[in-house]
């Protein structure tokens, strides 16, 4: 039997019900929604359903295949973890928006046509921005607006590309597109913005650190993974993605090393992880696509876990800057352990989840003969261990004792982190379950001596470098600062340009007023405009004549349609 409702429907319906109940009933409902929805998804068979005809077009709300199913399960898991993590929050707005946001992500993943994709694409943007604004600080408000403008712009590009594609091919199907003309380029760019391609990436590092502690856990799971899914669907094997992906793995890690806000460090490290996936999609072989998709799966869990642990730190201490934290392991030992599990997973330590997926992309790069790309990915692997694997836990929980003595976070936060940590280890130890869900059959063996030894050597000596730099005092200290990135173009240059334009406007106005007072301008104008000189321009016209003109024009347009 195919599901009785489209996959996103239960989340949307739940979002309507949540404000109607309170207390434990609301908590129970919040937990029940992803579970019920997952159960429904479990019963769905591959194929297309929920097709709606509008005019001459058919919109498909539910297209189920291996790729959409995998992301579907993933998003249910992510939603469940994020909901558990935010159960203590007493903010109806955030709870409703979180459900709508997760539902929109499901809408994208199961969309069978580009119009449905566009609708949910924009819903993702509109719903998620409230998770940023819910922080209720001036910085969050401003960052939220920037986020919204960029995300909506991505949607506009997607719509433009879709319409162009429709007029050229007559098809709305959301399948393989490939880079083959302006329409596909527009769609590619729309995906690229959401996927945080280089120079288009700053919305992520700008907004995620400004969201609420629980909001960023929702945010990190959906938007970018939806973009990965869309790229894997429409542009697998596009060579340019290999280079874009490699660039994404390498440049953010430099920023991550010198960034002070630990959630922003995670933002940069997120772009680095997305780079591995983008690279895998670009390589396009079965192994590479499997690697990209499974890494997306693992990333949602371990990045979620890291955002949860930093959210817990922010929730308990009110601080998130590396320079203001330290020594928290004494009073938050459980959170520390969970954070370290997440750190080991993102660093791809053997027996943790990152190891079984990231290596597939790297092996694929070598198999396809991209030696330099492989070296870049290897550099990024060492780098990610450095900033996400060591820096995050070190500066938050160890380092210099900042004298903060807070308790462990609320139980629901600990449970969510515990579940995520358990999954990280489970997938790392027993990857076959995840492998069996992947789009192509998996012949890859992660636990092979060469591979394990190479990875251990890489990671331990990367850690040794950290020790050496830290002990010798070469390591750059955590400083209160802002690092200029591509966003400078609109946050500084653009702003200054607008300010300059406004000032020029003011200058011109005052100049004009001065001239008028001097009489030079007035005498020229009154020649044609003064009521006493009866010229054509100075007549007063009745409003009726305006209407007549408008009717006439509209009639003309109508006529032109008949003639054509």
């Amino acid at each position: 039997m195919n599901g009785s409702v489209p996959p996103f429907a239960i989340f949307f319906a739940g979002a309507l019900l949540v404000p109607l109940c309170r207390g434990w009933l609301r908590s129970a409902l919040l937990l029940l929604i992803p579970l019920l929805s997952a159960l429904q998804l479990w019963g769905m068979e591959e194929g297309v359903s929920w097709s709606i005809s509008i005019l001459t077009y058919t919109l498909t709300l539910s297209r189920v295949d291996t790729l959409s199913l995998l992301f579907g399960y993933l998003f249910h898991l992510a939603a469940l973890l994020a909901i558990i993590f935010s159960l203590h929050v007493r903010d109806t707005g955030q709870q409703v928006v979180g459900l709508l946001y997760a539902g929109s992500a499901l809408g994208v993943v199961f969309a069978g046509d580009l119009i449905t994709l566009f609708v949910f694409w924009e819903l993702l943007a509109i719903t998620s921005v409230f998770l940023i604004w819910a922080r209720r600080t001036p910085q969050a408000l401003a960052a939220g607006f920037r986020y919204l403008i960029i995300q909506v712009f991505s949607g506009v590009l997607l719509l433009a590309g879709t319409l162009l594609h429709l007029s050229q091919t007559g098809s709305l199907a959301f399948d393989y597109l490939g880079l083959s003309g302006p329409a596909s380029w527009l769609i590619f760019l729309a995906f690229g913005i959401k996927c945080a391609f280089p120079f288009l990436h700053n919305w992520l590092t700008d907004s995620y650190p400004e969201a609420t502690p629980t909001g960023s856990v929702f945010l990190c799971a959906f938007t970018t993974k939806v973009a990965i899914y869309s790229l894997a669907r429409a542009f697998p094997g596009t060579e340019m993605l290999i280079y874009i992906g490699a660039a994404m793995t390498c440049f953010p890690i430099f920023y991550a090393v010198i960034e002070n806000d630990l959630r922003r460090v995670l933002g940069y490290s997120m772009i680095n992880q997305l780079g591995f996936m983008v690279c895998g999609i670009g390589l396009g072989s079965a192994l590479a696509i499997n690697g990209a998709v499974s890494h997306a799966f693992n990333d949602v869990i371990f990045k979620g876990l890291l955002f949860m642990s930093m959210g817990a730190v922010l929730h308990m201490t009110g601080r998130i800057k590396g320079s203001d934290l330290g020594g928290l392991y004494k009073t938050m030992p459980i959170t520390t352990v969970f954070c370290i599990v997440g750190a080991c997973s993102i660093s791809a330590f053997p027996l943790f989840s990152g190891f079984v997926s990231k290596s597939m992309v790297m092996s694929a790069a070598l198999e396809e003969g991209h030696g330099w790309i492989w070296l870049a990915l290897l550099f990024a692997s060492a780098g990610v261990f450095h900033h996400a694997g060591i820096k995050i836990p070190f500066f938050a929980f160890f380092a210099q004792d900042a004298g903060i003595r807070v308790k462990e976070p609320p139980l629901n936060m600990l449970i969510a982190m515990g579940l995520a940590a358990g999954l990280c280890i489970f997938i790392g130890v027993y990857p076959w379950l995840l492998y069996s869900w992947l789009p192509a059959p998996v012949e890859y063996i992660p636990y092979e001596a060469t591979h394990v030894i190479a990875q251990l050597q890489l990671l331990f000596f990367a850690a040794l470098a950290f020790c050496w730099l830290k002990l010798s005092g070469l390591y750059p200290p955590e400083l209160h600062s802002v690092n200029i990135d591509a966003e400078w173009v609109y946050r500084r240059l653009g702003l200054r340009a607008v300010q300059a334009a406004l000032m020029t406007g003011t200058y011109l106005r005052t100049e004009l007023r001065k001239r008028i007072q001097q009489g030079t301008v007035v005498s020229r104008i009154t020649r044609n405009w003064h009521p006493q000189t009866v010229r054509w321009l100075s007549h007063t016209w009745p409003a009726g004549s305006m209407v007549l003109w408008a009717v006439g024009l509209l009639g003309l347009i109508l006529l032109s349609y008949y003639i054509r």
Binding site: G327, F379, I453, Q457, F461, A462, A465, P476, I484
Partner: protein, 81 residues
């Protein structure tokens, strides 16, 4: 009541931990003597390639990022001004 110093507050225990860590580093490096890795990229033939690469990559990363600060670092309220 005075707080007990944490385990990592004692220089002695940090030293012990580091010693264990150095031992592990040497241990994983020595694997290259006894085990011949499968090689797909010519650079991998180099003895201790991964260890060397990991160490150099991280050092370059950190020192380059430190230099980068001179160009990109601004005061925290840079964009608000």
């Amino acid at each position: 009541m005075k707080e007990q110093p944490g385990f990592l507050d004692k220089a002695e225990s940090v030293k012990k931990l580091l010693r264990v860590f150095y031992a592990i580093c040497i241990g994983v490096l020595l694997f290259d003597l006894v085990y011949h890795r499968h090689v797909a990229h010519p650079w991998e033939n180099l003895w201790g390639f991964y260890a060397l690469f990991g160490f150099i990559a991280c050092t370059v990363l950190v020192l380059a990022a430190k230099e980068m600060r001179k160009v990109v670092m601004r005061k925290e309220d840079y964009y608000e001004r």
